[in-house]
């Protein structure tokens, strides 16, 4: 197992919340206090949490989709054109470069390349597959609870703890080491 990256001299705090609204409020409070780089955990893609709580910007995955689809379409046209021009053979009295027929190949390759590069884009941006040992995680986060994980230097530890415990967490875990997540 690849070990998770440690954040030198930091401590880790994992707060488990039972309620969506308190998770959102906790994220807002952490942001208001100037903290960055904390993680929220959810058992579903909860848009309020992502947008209100964390104010996430556009995902760059769409660039991968577009680039992949365009590469695929270009490849499809180039491949069919090149191979038919390589040995021009008239069949059925049709033009050697038959656009309508090649659209089918270009279309299918556009979809194929677009889909595969979307997956690559997702993996790069979301950090998957994540083969490191599972730290900074709580198995309840795939069940019915939400979570917030933050690392802080010892000087700020008390302040972070105070913010998190203000939102009534079901569990507040303090790790002696902080990890990049």
């Amino acid at each position: 197992m690849i070990m998770p990256r440690r954040r030198q001299g930091h401590r880790g705090f994992f707060a488990l919340f039972e309620h969506l609204d308190s998770t959102i409020e906790a994220c807002k409070a952490l942001r208001a206090a100037g903290h960055k780089g904390f993680r929220a955990y959810a058992p579903l893609p909860e848009h309020h949490l992502l947008e209100e709580g964390l104010a996430l910007k556009h995902s760059p995955v769409r660039v991968f989709t577009l680039a992949g689809a365009m590469t695929g379409a270009a490849t499809g046209f180039a491949f069919t054109t090149w191979t038919s021009m390589d040995w021009p053979l008239v069949t059925g009295g049709k033009p050697v470069f038959s656009i309508p027929a090649y659209v089918v190949i270009a279309f299918e390759l556009a979809i194929l390349f677009g889909a595969l590069s979307t997956v690559i884009g997702l993996f790069i941006n979301a950090g998957l597959p994540n083969l490191r040992r599972m730290v900074a995680y709580h198995p309840e986060c795939s069940n019915g609870s939400f979570g917030v994980y933050i690392t802080a230097p010892p000087a700020q530890a008390e302040a972070v703890k105070r913010i998190l415990s203000g939102f009534d967490p079901a569990e507040l875990r303090e790790d002696p080491e902080g990890f990049d997540v």
Partner: protein, 456 residues
């Protein structure tokens, strides 16, 4: 992920499931207890796979002559079954991608099973061209590469398009299916023990449900759905062009693409019903696959059945109106010729029996839907049989007409293909969460603190 919008728009909330924990508990329970019924079905499927492989090996050993294929009917049960399974594959992507983009909230409960069905149906369909060509050891000839004289495949041939379409469809639907399961595999991982936990640890790719993961995941999912939507429509269009591009009477029409796509969705939704009914009962998923879901699927069947029936009528009308003797002869032969029974099975199962779905009582009766869905599947297989076999047996020149009779080897492979499909589907119900856990949670009200509840 049609989250809050669907709830606000008064979509289809799941009144029968109240909490996130209940979703995990009920769905993951399916993975832990196979029960005797599952083993019986699995043994039957394994036996059927043995029949399938045995028939195929017999054909490989003896040669393609053991099938009934000969001039003039060179495409028979194998191509019929190929088109049948490709068609079945379509509803999965329809439900997971198109209904997702349309934000139909009833898809959540059934989409995982129907997506799995898609993947396994394409896996089944993909074997048939290999079986059909006979010399399966030359299957790599399908890959577009130049031959020993440096001639490339003819990209104007619809058969080459089909290779691209089916390969793309299999890849994209498998990727889409796997990606959607990752968060649920993480949920399974967090509750499993021992060897199963190791298995889920590996295939869940270390998913933790962080905001970063969800943020990119939900975007990637939208883009994949947006790519899969035109793909669904294109794949069966390309399959239909395998026929429509040829000048065989009965095939050479422009209506084929939409007609095939509607038929594909029709048969696919019917098979989803056929599979969902026993799954719901056996695994105790009544709270998830509710009568409302079945009613929605029944409506989809009714719509596509009407399109298919309309296409049949258009075909007959145009054959008559064209004034072309071979075209007229082909359709007269379909209805009153040697294969009249196949045509009437098709019309009855696809056109007449689904008319019962106009009645709300039928749409809301699970047992009635189960029976109707089986008829639809039989009818849709015969539709392809009618299109392929009757058209080829009755082309232009009367001296070139001929009949085709499937051999026992072909029937063994046809029946075995259902077992092959069932084998994978049964494994799926035991290994992967058969209902999408994370997406089900989107239609369950989120847990709010009492503070908030008091305020609102």
């Amino acid at each position: 992920m049609a989250t809050a919008d669907a709830r606000q728009r008064g979509g289809l909330p799941n009144p029968d499931v109240a909490t996130y924990e209940a979703v995990n508990r009920d769905v993951l329970k399916v993975l832990s207890r196979p029960g005797r019924g599952w083993w019986v079905l699995f043994a039957m499927a394994a036996a059927g796979v043995a029949v399938f492989l045995g028939s195929w090996f017999y054909q490989i050993y003896q040669g393609i002559g053991v099938s009934g294929l000969n001039a003039p009917v060179g495409w028979g049960v194998y191509i019929t079954t190929f088109v049948f399974w490709v068609g079945i594959a379509h509803s999965g992507t329809l439900i997971s991608a198109i209904l997702f983009l349309f934000r139909a909230p009833w898809r959540q409960a059934i989409y995982r099973a129907s997506e799995a069905m898609t993947v396994f149906a394409v896996m089944t369909a993909g074997l048939f061209p290999l079986i059909h060509v006979g010399r399966v050891w030359h299957a790599y000839w399908l890959i577009p590469y130049p031959n020993s004289r440096f001639l490339w495949p003819n990209f104007r041939s619809p058969l080459v398009w089909d290779v691209f379409a089916i390969t793309t469809y299999f890849t994209v639907s498998a990727v889409f299916f796997y990606l959607g399961t990752i968060p649920d595999l993480a949920a399974a991982r967090d509750q499993a023990r021992g060897l199963r936990k190791k298995f889920y640890q590996i295939i869940s790719l270390g998913w933790r449900g962080t905001d970063r993961e969800w943020h990119h995941f939900s975007k990637a999912y939208i883009y994949l759905a947006a790519l899969a939507t035109p793909l669904v429509l294109s794949v069966h269009s390309v399959v239909s062009w395998d026929f429509a591009m040829a000048i065989v009477p009965g095939w050479h029409t422009t209506i084929f693409a939409p007609y095939f796509v509607a038929g594909a969705i029709f048969s696919g939704v019917a098979l989803v019903i056929t599979l969902a009914v026993p799954m719901r009962k056996y695994f105790g998923l009544e709270d998830y696959l509710t009568v409302k879901h079945f009613e929605a699927m029944a409506k989809l069947c009714l719509l596509t059945s009407s399109i298919v029936l309309y296409a049949y009528m258009t075909e007959y009308f145009l054959a008559w109106y064209s004034g072309e003797p071979p075209e007229r002869g082909s359709f007269w032969n379909r209805v009153f010729g040697h294969y009249w029974w196949a045509n009437w099975i098709m019309l009855t199962c696809n056109g007449l029996i689904p008319l019962m779905l106009w009645f709300k009582r039928v749409r809301r009766s699970i047992s009635a839907l189960f029976v109707i869905s089986i008829f639809i599947n039989i009818g849709m297989w015969f539709e392809r049989y009618v299109i392929i076999v009757t058209s080829l047996s009755h082309e232009y020149e009367p001296w070139a007409w001929g009949l085709y009779r499937p051999s026992y080897v072909e029937m063994g492979i046809l029946l075995g293909s259902f077992a092959w499909f069932g084998f994978w589907f049964l494994l799926f119900t035991r290994l992967l969460p058969p209902v999408a856990i994370a997406e089900m949670k989107e239609v369950v009200p989120p847990p709010m603190s009492s503070r908030k509840e008091a305020a609102t």
